[in-house]
């Protein structure tokens, strides 16, 4: 098992290295200089570029970049979005907001999805099941940014129940109120995914032998499902939930823009549009790292839950 984990981690770092290399080359080959400020004289721009090693060949630049990242933890300095602040610090300041919203939306979607999925499985082919499956189709199909617009207009603007945009200075209840809409917008998809998956799993296990046994010992359908079938479906459920995190993180790129949340998604868009190359690279690395970590965790948890996969990989 240890060897398997080490292998996967090494593979992850190799992939990360490839992505970083490609990202660095693409971003640096983009037209337009980082320092194309018309107010600065050419000599100053040249000096700035020389200081950031921009006048050297791409390979040498990449060497400097890697040296900075690995030896000094220096990811370059943001140029335009937050001038002369290290890109790493810009990122670290914003990651908590993004993570907070994403994790909250997953946290509320999990119990809701489990409840809906169990109800749908227990009332299979009855009205409740049909209603839930309509809800699932809608929630899975409609993009999160459409939900976000709808919620923003109806709940925040018309009914004035929530603030229209995120308030970064608010504290306590108000802070949660301003986070509620983005969290809701992001949660619809995961709720539907969990519901659909759990319903499928439960419906399948209903006919298995251990369920017959559970009923033989006197449990009714609901008791048997909740105590036995549900527990059996919980482990594979983790493998649906963890990859959802990457999806939610991608979706939050847009949601953050709609609700003006000062998170990572916002600086990704802004840094691309403003040619702030060091920051763009840092954000891209962050997204790659998160998605690679998710894949790693899924792989490892598969290995722990189902040892057959581990054997196959060897």
């Amino acid at each position: 098992m240890t060897r398997y984990i080490i292998e996967r981690i090494i593979a992850m770092f190799i992939t990360l290295f490839i992505i970083v290399t490609i990202a660095f080359c693409v971003v640096r080959m983009m037209p337009g200089s980082v320092y194309d400020n018309p107010e600065l004289p050419q000599s100053v721009i040249d000096a700035l570029e020389a200081k950031a090693h921009l006048n050297e060949p791409l390979l040498v630049q990449y060497g400097y970049f890697l040296k900075g990242v690995i030896l000094e933890g220096d990811w370059g300095t943001s140029v335009k979005i937050e001038p002369s602040v290290p890109a790493f610090d810009v990122l670290v300041k914003r990651i908590p907001v993004t993570l907070e919203i994403n994790i909250y939306s997953l946290l509320i979607s999990l119990p809701l999805g489990i409840i809906f999925g169990t109800i749908a499985a227990l009332r299979k082919n009855k009205l409740a099941d049909h209603l839930i499956s309509v809800m699932v189709v809608i929630c899975i199909s409609v993009p999160s940014f459409v939900f976000a617009s709808l919620l923003q207009y109806v709940l925040a603007f018309k009914l004035e129940l929530f603030p229209i945009v995120y308030e970064s200075t608010a504290v306590g209840v108000q802070r949660f109120a301003s986070m509620a809409l983005p969290i809701m917008a992001l949660a619809f998809g995961p709720i539907a995914t969990v519901t659909r998956y759990l319903r499928g799993e439960l419906v399948e296990t209903v006919n298995s032998e251990f369920m017959t046994l559970a009923k033989t010992k006197g449990l009714n359908q609901v008791q048997a499902t909740v105590r036995h079938a549900f527990r059996n479906s919980c482990l594979p459920l983790t493998n649906v939930i963890i990859p959802m995190f990457t999806n939610v993180l991608g979706g939050s790129l847009v949601i953050e823009r709609i609700f003006s949340i000062p998170g990572v998604g916002g600086i990704m868009i802004n840094s691309i549009n403003a040619n702030d190359h060091p920051l763009t690279i840092a954000v891209l690395i962050f997204y790659s790292l998160v998605s690679l970590l998710t894949i790693l965790i899924v792989d490892l948890s598969y290995g722990i839950i189902d040892p057959r996969i581990r054997l196959e990989a060897k």
Binding site: M12, T15, I18, I19, I22, A23, V26, V27, M29, M30, S133, V136, V137, I138, I140, S141, V142, P143, F145, V146, S149, L150, Q152, Y153, F157, I164, R196, R199, G200, V203, E204, T246, G250, L253, V254, R257, I258, G265, M268, I269, I272, N273, L284, Y287, S288, V290, S291, L292, I295
Partner: protein, 380 residues
Amino acid sequence: MYIADQNNMPKIPKEKFVFVQQGTAIKDENFETKPIGFFKDAMMRFCKNKASVSAMVIILFIIFLSIFGPSFNSYGFNDQDVNRINLPPRIPVLENIGIADGTRVLTNRRVDNLDDPEKYPEGSIVEILNRRTEKNVEMCDVKINYYVYTGYDDEYFWAGTDYLGRDLWTRLCRGSRVSLMIATLAVFANILIGIIYGAIAGYYGGKVDMVMMRICEIIGAFPQVVVATLFIMFFGTGIFSIVMALIIRGWISTARLIRAQFLRFKSREYVLAARTLGVRDRALIFRHILPNSIGPIITKAMIEVPNAIFSESFLAFIGLGLQAPEPSIGVLLSDGQKVLLHYPYQTLFPALLISILMISFNLFSNGLRDAFDPTMRGID
């Protein structure tokens, strides 16, 4: 053993052949029904699924609109006119019953200006709401017919106009055309690459399979957002680079599906029989094994279409969409989102369009999957 040779068959006159059952009637009957082929069978099952059939009708209708919609009225998708910006929707028959009648409420207007024909042209005021006095000035909210107000009384913009005075109906139709085109191109390329790659990996197996699947795994580990961003940054915005950005990572799931199908079918007896007869690898792959996967391939393609439409809108939203003035659903939606609180209809129509399109495609592909593979029924 004697093997009859076609050329040296002994000549037997026709009269010598006699039916074995001569005299007694042949008991078995002809089939009264016609044989049902794979597609017909699937078609019958598909037609029973009402949700999927209506989804298909909706999709066909949207495709029809995307092709012919722009010619329903005389406005071009890029006809800009600063005098008619942000007009609300107005539809000929519906305006009489109060929906889409081209009216808008202007808030905080001075009452004494209401009679001024310079400011409010004849007949533009529909209703005066919420009269009040603030700081000794009589104020009110006015519901006005915005078309009369701006002097476009004879025009009908069915979905209103945007911030440059462009007709939204035309832009919506053209946008759905562009989005569907991007999705179709991307899905077609993905399926094609996926079929070839997956077929080779699955058919040859062993080392070839291992290397090809490792490559898949590495490409699959690239996050979609990052790949698409880099691609569009590098090649610039446009239909081509968006399609390419969707292809880069999109073919992997198809390749995996096809590979699994090949692993399942390649050791069947009929493949062995064909191989014994000396059929070449290429014919074995494409004529004998691949046709088994036609159902999953079609289903997969239909599942990928809404994903591609979603990805395109997503890219438009983060500012990596098509270049103006070309519209796509995503571009319209992200433009509308900017003025959501003032002109909600500019978000409503693209949002409705993309939602209906996504739901329809999902229902349609569910129906197709059930039709082609009834064992999967109910596993939504």
